[in-house]
């Protein structure tokens, strides 16, 4: 997608109506008489290799001589070669713009030409130093290697897979529970990993409370039904209260203790040793961003942070609206920055298998005769999140509505904020316990908790 976009731009930039070089870039643009071809692989190929194959009698791209034509996904063509990647246009390579302009002026068109010229020749022809030429060639080579690996079906940036693989992945994936079983039900199990969930709500309705609850719940050990991860909490409004997190964490630990007593399994005891208040608090990484610049900077640095702390399974940004709602005369800049943020968060969620939770404010939209409360940041922001929850009031009852979800239907439930945190309105009835234990073995009736109060 990136390369196609660049090619379009490069073409536009050059102002020449030059057609795309014969199927270059490995996408197999050439029309083929074969029907039902999958991404450049011939249907008729007996080996069904995703990528290049010597054995494929109808190979439509240049192939690597060394490839034996295996039936497993091809790890990539053998160097030298890379075949189609070498036909890439110079304008699409990630070199400095000034350098690209010079190369175009000198008449270079494909990456192969550059590599054939060599650093000395290149430096003489364009008039740059040998070191710069060498650097440029290294970038080109790296880029083409990356391309070739991608087109040969290697794993990495393309994230190409069949729906069956996705289904298997989704079924084994964990959810972050919220301790409110009604909310978990409408979400299909809880907050999903690798997706962005947005929580919009009126002031004081419980968004930050839910975020703090999730930051504790993500750390629940696997034997209790959690994902045993760590949490990153990015706070832009200053509403994070450590004392409250301590209360919520203490209640969670107690809940797990009670389950362990009731079920008496071995690994429960071991898990409980590490699931203590100190550990929970030490694994919540807190960042306080005062304005949108700090927020942008922090999100740029997050991939690095998550690579170091590989157990992080939840990123909470509490108050994505607040820093963007003042000091912005240029609304198009705001839209652009928000979209950039959303994209980076999606990549983050996918790469690190983390759930991203954002909270948004509500704003008043004045219509003709009515004023309605709508989520802030505009219509275009609504596309950023995969799952959208709206928390609102109905007199004195707090309600949560699932507003947008790709897999669950829209519904509304009621919830409560107690001193223990985010909870259901009523305890689940004891008569349903057999059903309940099948679906949610970690949920137990709340009667004991109520008595303790």
């Amino acid at each position: 997608m990136r390369r196609a976009a660049r090619r379009v731009r490069a073409r536009a930039g050059r102002g020449r109506g030059q057609a795309v070089r014969g199927g270059a870039g490995g996408r197999g643009r050439q029309r083929s008489p074969l029907a039902g071809r999958v991404r450049g692989v011939s249907e008729a190929c007996p080996e069904r290799v995703r990528g290049v194959s010597e054995a494929c009698p109808r190979r439509v791209r240049s192939v690597s001589a060394a490839c034996p034509g295996r039936s497993a996904p091809c790890p990539g063509p053998v160097r030298p070669g890379g075949g189609a990647a070498m036909q890439r246009e110079v304008g699409t390579l990630p070199l400095a713009p000034a350098l690209r302009a010079r190369l175009a002026a000198a008449g270079f068109q494909t990456a192969q030409e550059l590599l054939d010229t060599g650093p000395c020749g290149l430096s003489k022809e364009i008039g740059i130093s040998r070191e710069e030429a060498l650097e440029a060639l290294q970038v080109v080579r790296q880029e083409c290697q990356g391309d070739a690996a991608r087109t040969a079906g290697g794993s990495g940036a393309t994230r190409k897979c069949t729906a069956l693989e996705l289904l298997e992945e989704e079924q084994t994936q964990g959810f972050i529970i919220t301790f409110c079983s009604a909310l978990d039900n409408i979400l299909g199990g809880g907050v999903q990993l690798t997706k962005i969930t947005e929580i919009c709500g009126a002031p004081g309705v419980g968004k930050t409370q839910l975020c703090m609850q999730l930051a504790v719940d993500v750390q629940i050990p696997e034997c209790f039904g959690g994902v045993a991860g760590e949490a990153v909490f990015i706070d832009t409004e200053g509403s994070f209260m450590v004392d409250r997190v301590v209360e919520i964490a203490a209640a969670c630990v107690q809940h797990c203790h009670l389950i362990a007593e009731a079920q008496q399994e071995e690994d429960h005891g071991k898990a409980l040793e590490t699931f203590s208040l100190e550990n929970i608090l030490s694994h919540i990484y807190y960042f306080r961003c005062r304005d949108y610049t700090e927020l942008l900077a922090q999100v740029y640095l997050l991939p690095e942070f998550l690579a170091e702390h590989s157990k992080v399974r939840l990123v909470v940004i509490d108050g994505i609206a607040f820093p963007f709602r003042h000091d912005f005369e240029d609304l198009s800049l705001r839209t652009r920055l928000l979209n950039g943020l959303a994209q980076q968060l999606i990549i983050l969620a996918n790469d690190h298998k983390a759930a991203v939770v954002l909270t948004n404010q509500m704003t008043t939209r004045i219509g003709q005769s009515q004023a309605t409360l709508v989520p802030a940041l505009g219509e275009s922001w609504g596309h950023a999140a995969t799952v959208r929850l709206i928390f609102h009031w109905d007199n004195s009852q707090r309600l949560a509505t699932l507003y947008k979800s790709p897999s669950q239907k829209e519904s509304t439930i009621a919830y409560h904020i107690t001193s223990h945190g985010f909870r259901d309105v009523q305890p689940p009835a004891v008569t349903h316990s057999t059903e309940g234990t099948q679906l949610n073995p970690r949920k137990r009736p709340r009667t004991e908790e109520e008595k303790q109060q």
Binding site: P94, A98, P203, S239, V242, Q298, L301, F322, R325, T364
Partner: protein
């Protein structure tokens, strides 16, 4: 942090010069550009630009702390986490008192006791730590010219009889309360921005702004186009500066607000009401929609402002002279109500025998109905906060 110059972000000198030719001098300008624009502006390759981005981000990103470190820091100095209001039931519910490091808002109809509460809190802040105060100075930004120094002395003398036994102590206390009279939005904002240095030099431990609503409502008429956005802009900017000050110096910030009428199906109408039936615009609104909309009196300044404050206390009328204090929004306290009267020594809580009805079912803090003074039109008002006799208690225990 945003205005940090790129020079200090450890970019090379020539890179900074090159960027300044495009008017990119601060981290904020740098981070607002997309990758392609950055490539054009810096003349570097894609990978180099990503490295530069990381460098600049590191220069302005916040430091990481774990929740455990935060807790340890708080437990080291527990008394500095709140300002006790000496209204014991309120303090208990708020986990100690008015929290430090966040914004607390006090909303009420006129004459209910906002300014009295603020004056009382300023006295408390000047008390030494051993007596439950913060032992520091107070900055009082007064926009309505309602601050009365005589009342201040009266409250101090009658509330802390034993401590303020000499005139000397009273004068010392008054010297540490700095009152600024600002009458326009612009002046208020400028004053807030300049507070940082004053806080350090005068060792300020409490900031009070009485009131935010009066300046804002004088200058922004939300019926005019564009004014709503500008008002929100001003308010969020003020709120973010105040939050920064509150957190940086770990001090409480107290703001006062007024009331407005919000029709259930119309935009909030700005009015300092005595009774809604007197207000002409209300009847206009109801005639448009055809049926009688029951409007309710709520806190002013809208939704955005309700998001910005962390704690909201509502003062409203009960049976005169008794008044009622509601905790309408708080991250640590449940919805609670208390009864109080205003006496010589400031606010005094009344101990009611029906203590269990102190917890009530609240609603959206931005739309919480507030009871105003004129009790003649009782049926017009929503009385969600008024505890009923028996039904309330059984409902409340099931909430917890």
């Amino acid at each position: 942090m945003a205005a940090k110059k790129l020079r200090r972000a450890q970019l090379s000198q020539e890179m900074c010069e090159r960027l300044s030719r495009y008017q990119i001098t601060t981290c904020q300008d740098f981070l607002c550009l997309s990758l392609l624009e950055l490539m054009k502006v810096t003349g570097q390759s894609y990978y180099e630009v990503q490295k530069l981005l990381c460098k600049v981000s590191r220069a302005c990103a916040p430091k990481m702390q774990t929740a455990y470190e935060m807790k340890l820091r708080k437990s080291v100095n527990p008394s500095s986490a709140f300002l006790s209001t000496t209204l014991h039931s309120l303090d208990r519910v708020l986990n100690g008192g008015v929290p430090c490091g966040s914004l607390t808002e006090i909303t009420s109809p006129p004459g209910c006791g906002k300014t009295q509460f603020c004056i009382m809190l300023s006295v408390l802040a000047t008390l030494p730590v051993s007596m439950g105060g913060l032992g520091g100075a107070v900055i009082y930004i007064d926009t309505e010219s309602a601050f009365s120094a005589e009342r201040l002395i009266e409250i101090a003398a009658s509330r802390f009889l034993t401590y303020f036994d000499s005139d000397e102590k009273l004068l010392c206390m008054t010297r540490s309360i700095h009152v600024y009279r600002e009458l326009t939005c612009c002046c208020v904002l400028k004053r807030i921005m300049s507070l940082e240095e004053e806080i350090i030099s005068k060792k300020v431990k409490l900031i009070i702004i009485d009131s935010v609503a009066s300046v804002v409502r004088k200058e922004f008429d939300t019926k005019l186009q564009g004014n709503l956005a500008e008002r929100s802009n001003f308010l969020t900017r003020g709120a973010s500066v105040l939050k920064y000050l509150a957190e940086e110096f770990s001090i409480p910030v107290i703001l006062t607000n007024q009331i407005t009428t919000s029709l259930s199906s119309g935009p909030a109408i700005q009015a300092d009401l005595v009774s809604p039936a007197d207000d002409l615009s209300l009847s206009e609104g109801s005639s448009v929609s055809g049926k009688r909309d029951s409007g309710c009196v709520t806190a002013a300044l809208g939704n955005t402002w309700s998001h910005s404050v962390n704690t909201r206390l509502i003062l409203q009328y009960h049976d005169l002279p008794t008044r009622q204090l509601l905790v309408a929004k708080s991250p640590v306290a449940p919805f609670s109500t208390f009864f109080y009267t205003i006496e010589k020594s400031g606010l005094v809580l009344q101990d009611r025998k029906d203590q269990t009805s102190l917890v009530w079912e609240g609603t959206n803090p931005a739309l919480q109905p507030i009871r105003v003074r004129n009790t003649a039109l009782k049926d017009t008002f929503h009385d969600a906060a008024l505890p009923s006799t028996t039904g309330e208690t059984s409902r409340n225990t099931s909430n917890l």
